[in-house]
Amino acid sequence: MFRNLVAALLILAALVLQVGLVNRVSPRIAPDLVLLVVLSLAALRGAAVPGAVIGFCGGLAYDLLPPSDHALGQWALVMCVLGFLAGRAGGQLPLLVVMLCAVIAPGLAAGIGALLGDPGVTWSVLRTAWLWVGLCNLVFAPVVLWAVSALQPKRRARGSEFVTSYRRGTA
């Protein structure tokens, strides 16, 4: 329960940071924080179904995030599939899986956009944009994965609880 709450908060923070800071600082080529956070959460969870659920919810929130001009559900579909993959394979090598999915994701999103007839998706645009966004995601993937795993609540041993109560007692 607490784990899910933390995941939701992390995704919310990533959403707001993405449109409020990252895209405003560099509007053209920027890492996709939401994608990376969702993939990291799914990979660290290490199971397919929770990964897909995290991906779907995160993607839906990304679709609903206000400055949006695409069909609702595009990112939900992409992140659901990638969350499933990351959760399925992320148990052993989370970093490798997150990086792989982060590189695949822009192309997958563009493919769905092209299927829906998005006018901006041309092959030449895809070639440059996918390359640069993929590189950006690749660079930021270890950082985000580390941050997410550091913020993930751990089932602490009894000892730490004892120390806090001890401190509380002395204070």
């Binding site: 449109v19 409020g20 179904v49 609903l64 901006g120």
Partner: protein, 388 residues
């Protein structure tokens, strides 16, 4: 993997839900069916974004300062020079004030286009390269913003409102490939359509301008303004859009394509205005910024005049070729074809040729970086520029 049947079921349901959402939202015109959902999301996220914008503004400013640092030194010297010149200009103007006041009163009728504007602050931006380029502004239906209103900045057209929430609204920028606006060439009736290029627009956020009449003359350095929609619904007339920077001459095509540099600065967009009331009369070209150098307008007229002459076409194409070649060839060689074109022009040779050099150089010091011949090549050239 354990629990395979349940897993398959859950994933199947989730994928089906996503596909249904896509279908419903894509099918329904203007997203009427899912508008309440978007409304709720926009009010929830909008308030959070508004709050974070106040926090992140110093950070954004810091990054902007760092990225501007190399040019700052040059800018300071240029500004000092300009300041000195402005001071002397101001002294001269003090003498002319009485005369100016009379003239001003006389010209007041013709003044700038009377748009009624609600100012707004950009709180969030989303830019998926190539697919969408949109910003969120901090005013909504409560401030009189409705869907399909024109958005402009102090420099020119910015975009249009696609969704107006209760307290925030979404604006699609002019650089978004999905956006198309009617446009008109300055000082004429040549019409065309402006399209965003997205990622293909390069660092200068170029936009595409397609002339509906392929025989009409297009020159580099001419400005375009919005033509205005019926009932001024998405676009009000007369808003400055940009300066034409490159013309593509493809013989045999029905439309003629030019690339324009927008007046508005899309790399750092901050304060915008939503036009809540269109002007009663089309302001035509009156809202365009004053021509930076008098030579430019003289050149525009000078080139326009041969367009009225019986045999304008050779001059026209020759100029386009000149521009094509001198982008790659060095400066002195570029003067030679221009000299060939001189006898055809009715103007004295200097006014036809000399200012063109200025207009070509004035908008950008390196036109080859701005010209996206092919979006794929643009990326290569950008990399070369950075290396040089």
């Amino acid at each position: 993997m354990r629990d395979t049947r349940r897993a398959r079921l859950v994933i199947g349901v989730l994928l089906a839900a996503a596909l249904i959402l896509i279908t419903v939202d894509h099918r329904a015109a203007n997203g009427t069916l899912l508008a309440p959902v978007r409304d709720v999301a926009s009010s929830v996220f909008g308030s959070v974004e508004g709050a974070t914008a106040t926090v992140t503004r110093p950070i954004t400013g810091f990054f902007k300062t760092i990225s501007n640092a190399p040019g700052a030194e040059r800018a300071i010297t240029a500004l000092r020079k300009e300041n000195a010149q402005l001071k002397s200009d101001l002294d001269a103007q003090r003498l002319n004030r009485d005369r100016v006041m009379k003239l001003d009163r006389m010209l007041g009728l013709a003044g700038l286009g009377r748009y009624r504007i609600v100012p707004a602050q950009v709180v969030a931006r989303r830019a998926s390269p190539g697919f969408e380029d949109a910003v969120e502004i901090d005013i909504g239906t409560g401030d009189g913003v409705r869907t399909d209103m024109t958005v402009l900045s102090g420099e020119g057209l910015v975009g249009r409102v696609v969704h107006a929430g209760p307290s925030t609204s979404t604006v699609v920028l002019l650089t978004d490939p999905a956006l198309a606006a009617g446009a008109r060439m300055e000082g004429g009736n040549e019409l065309g359509v402006v399209n965003g290029l997205g990622e293909a627009g390069g660092n200068d956020n170029l936009i595409k301008f397609r002339m509906l009449d392929s025989s009409s003359p297009v020159q580099v350095g001419r400005r375009i303004v919005s033509f205005g929609s019926q009932g001024s619904a998405p676009y009000v007339p007369g808003v400055p859009i940009g300066v034409i920077e490159r013309v593509d001459t493809t013989p045999g095509e029905l439309t003629r394509t030019a690339y324009a540099r927008p007046f508005a600065d899309f790399s750092s967009i901050d304060v915008v205005g939503v036009v809540t009331e269109a002007p009663k009369r089309d302001p035509r070209d009156s809202v365009l910024p004053p021509v930076p150098k008098p030579a430019v307008s003289r050149q525009a007229k000078a080139v326009e005049r041969p367009g009225l002459l019986p045999a304008p076409r050779p001059v026209e194409t020759r100029q386009a070729e000149t521009r094509e070649t001198d982008r790659t060839v060095e400066q002195p060689a570029a003067a030679a074809p221009g000299a060939n074109a001189r006898p055809l022009e009715s103007e004295p040779p200097r006014s036809g040729h000399e200012p063109r050099e200025e207009t070509r150089l004035a908008p950008s010091p390196t036109p080859e970086r701005a010209a996206p011949r092919e979006p794929g090549q643009a990326g290569d050239q950008r990399r070369q520029d950075r290396g040089a």
